[in-house]
């Protein structure tokens, strides 16, 4: 059994609680971090929480010439090693989903790392559109 992060756009009401949870859980020095998740509307009253897909053959990992982006085998997420990052912006330019971001307040590149295996957004989503659940994987 492994955990999977499930995004269910049908249940999303666009309340943006996940965005707040993300920004607050990444706060440092009393300043919010940049949210890694964006509930966006695509049609009237219809929302999709846009967040990193942790792709198998990820463009961000390929684009980083300095190996700062690597798969965390424990969480399944792609983690960004800030100490290796030189802020060249290749990953931001390359990610086809727009999920590698600049946190201008903390002056660093950020992306979803599933909170190292305990995503804050899933805890706070009131409509259960975001869930982190055990799932059987082959």
């Amino acid at each position: 059994m492994k955990y999977r992060f499930i995004v269910d756009p049908v249940l999303c009401t666009g309340c943006r609680t996940c965005e707040l949870a993300c920004a607050f859980s990444h706060a440092r020095n009393l300043k919010q971090g940049r949210s890694r998740i964006y509930p966006l509307t695509h049609e009237k009253d219809k929302y999709v929480p846009v967040v990193c897909l942790q792709c198998d053959d990820a463009a961000c990992v390929k684009s980083c010439m300095f190996d700062a982006l690597r798969r965390n085998e424990e969480t399944g997420a792609i983690d960004l090693d800030v100490a290796r990052c030189v802020k060249c912006m290749a990953c931001i330019a390359a990610c086809p989903f727009g999920c590698a971001l600049v946190d201008e307040v903390h002056n660093e590149i950020v992306k979803c790392d599933l909170c190292k295996g305990d995503p804050a957004c899933a805890h706070f989503c009131p409509s259960k559109a975001l869930r982190y659940t055990k799932i059987a994987v082959r």
């Binding site: 964006y38 966006l40 695509h42 463009a59 100490a83 060249c88 290749a90 990610c95 999920c99």
Partner: protein, 258 residues
Amino acid sequence: MVTITINGKAVQANEGEMLLAAIRRQGIDTPALCHHDAIEPCGSCRLCMVEITKKEWEGWTRSVTSCLYPVEPGLIVSTHTPQLLELRKTILELYLARSSQSEVIQKMAEDYGITHSSFPVIPDGDDCIMCYACTRICEELGCFAISAVDRGHDKKVSGPLRQPPPDCIGCLSCAHICPTGFIKWQDLDSTRTIWERQFELLSCRTCGKRTITRDFAEYLMKKRNLPAAYFELCDDCKRTETAKTMGKIVVAAQEVLK
């Protein structure tokens, strides 16, 4: 795992890692200018010096650059002995003589109680401390666009033959890694200037926001086999597109399930 002693405390270090990493993990503040995790250590700034000894060394100690010294079982490390503080002060005074205008150096020196150098200040000194972090990151990238040219007093980092580097792709990695912020660059409209060369910045097809240089994008496409389509939009517009696409899929799936 390797057990070493840092400032009197026994700590675990990872096999093969350098002392600096183990020291930093303990939250101990050792100054270091030329170190960055993305490049191989080269020990040029000398600020990360620590004192090492071992039980069997019978009181003998050595000062080594912690960024270049791999952990060894039984190593006893001190990071703030009076001798080390003196050593760092001297190094900082030398840097202050060369790069008297550098805010980074000034701040570091201040932390060690130094406000001016007892060495004669070099009148035409600049903020380059010759650590070659820039040339090393450019090598890591695979471009080898810049290097040290000339020798002695005239030595400096530049493109070959002191000319603008033809192999540069304008990625700014060198500028961002430079510990003193000496490498200057500018983005103006759709043009980026660095190393006296001009590069075209890509613009988002939807909103016009500038992203990376065309040369950098083409380099990534070629080296890492990435499709050109990934580079057409900025991250904001890509998220909007993602919402639209996923939204359509959801609507279609709902139709099927009805």
